[in-house]
Symmetry: C2
Subunit: 158 residues, 2 copies
């Protein structure tokens, strides 16, 4: 089995957008294809720079496209701890509970598989629980060695 080419990813993206019944536009396809091609959650900035190479899309348009994709269930937003949003193509939307991993060293964010057991939390009286978001912090495979060598001095990628 060959890896999907960039072109076929664009086609997938195009098809997904067409299926919503709304307009198929260059920015929408570009953003969604980029998200699908990404191995991890991307920030708005990362999206912008990855897209620019092929066809320039306006900053604002990317924001609006992302909002649109979320509204139509084609992408979802991850709230990082650095006040930056990251976006994933929603290949497998698991409603009710999300789990993400964030490397404290390089800042990379992954969308983890849904947790087996939905953690049970005790809320104050009268409160109602809807979704649960789980953020696991730690170090990714690339950063574990660096972390082990020089404890307490992490190189951040801001």
């Amino acid at each position: 089995m060959f890896t999907m080419s960039t072109k076929s990813k664009a086609q997938t993206a195009e098809q997904l957008i067409r299926d919503t019944g709304a307009r198929v536009t260059v920015p929408r396809v570009a953003v969604l294809a980029t998200l699908i091609a990404a191995e991890r959650a991307l920030t708005h900035q990362e999206l912008e720079s990855r897209i620019d190479r092929s066809r320039a899309v306006d900053r604002v348009t990317i924001y609006r496209v992302l909002e649109w994709l979320m509204k139509h269930g084609l992408a979802h937003k991850i709230t990082g701890e650095d006040r930056v949003w990251r976006f994933n193509a929603a290949a497998h939307m698991h409603v009710g509970s999300h789990a993400h991993f964030k490397c404290g060293d390089c800042g990379q964010v992954l969308c983890l598989d849904p947790v087996a057991a939905k953690p049970q939390v005790r809320l104050p009286a009268g409160y109602r629980q809807n979704e649960v978001e789980l953020l696991v912090k730690g170090w990714c495979a690339d950063c574990v060695p660096a972390h082990g060598r020089s404890r307490g001095h992490a190189r951040h990628q801001h």
Copy 2:
């Protein structure tokens, strides 16, 4: 047992700061006392407006004091989903796992008691887990009724 007066909270704050061995300054006491007096996690903006009534403290100073308090384990930061940080006095720091509740309607954020069972998550090979942060979304006691009445139309407090 009487509720602590505002004054004794300021004294508590002062003592906690003094115990670190560093300088006891007006902004530090003001910020920490405000956090201790707060019933929930406060944003930087909320802190600023609550402090202003007694003695004006510069915006930037509040940021720096908060950073300092965290460094000394007297406060901790919660990453909301609205890209705003909220701060709690760290009365009971539970290292390794935090749990917070955020009301999707009024935006209030609470620091929940540590979860009984640390949720077990499967990470990719080579990844190392450090902390786990749990964000429970739902509706607080005050907002549950409103939510029940008009589903899908939440009044946000931005």
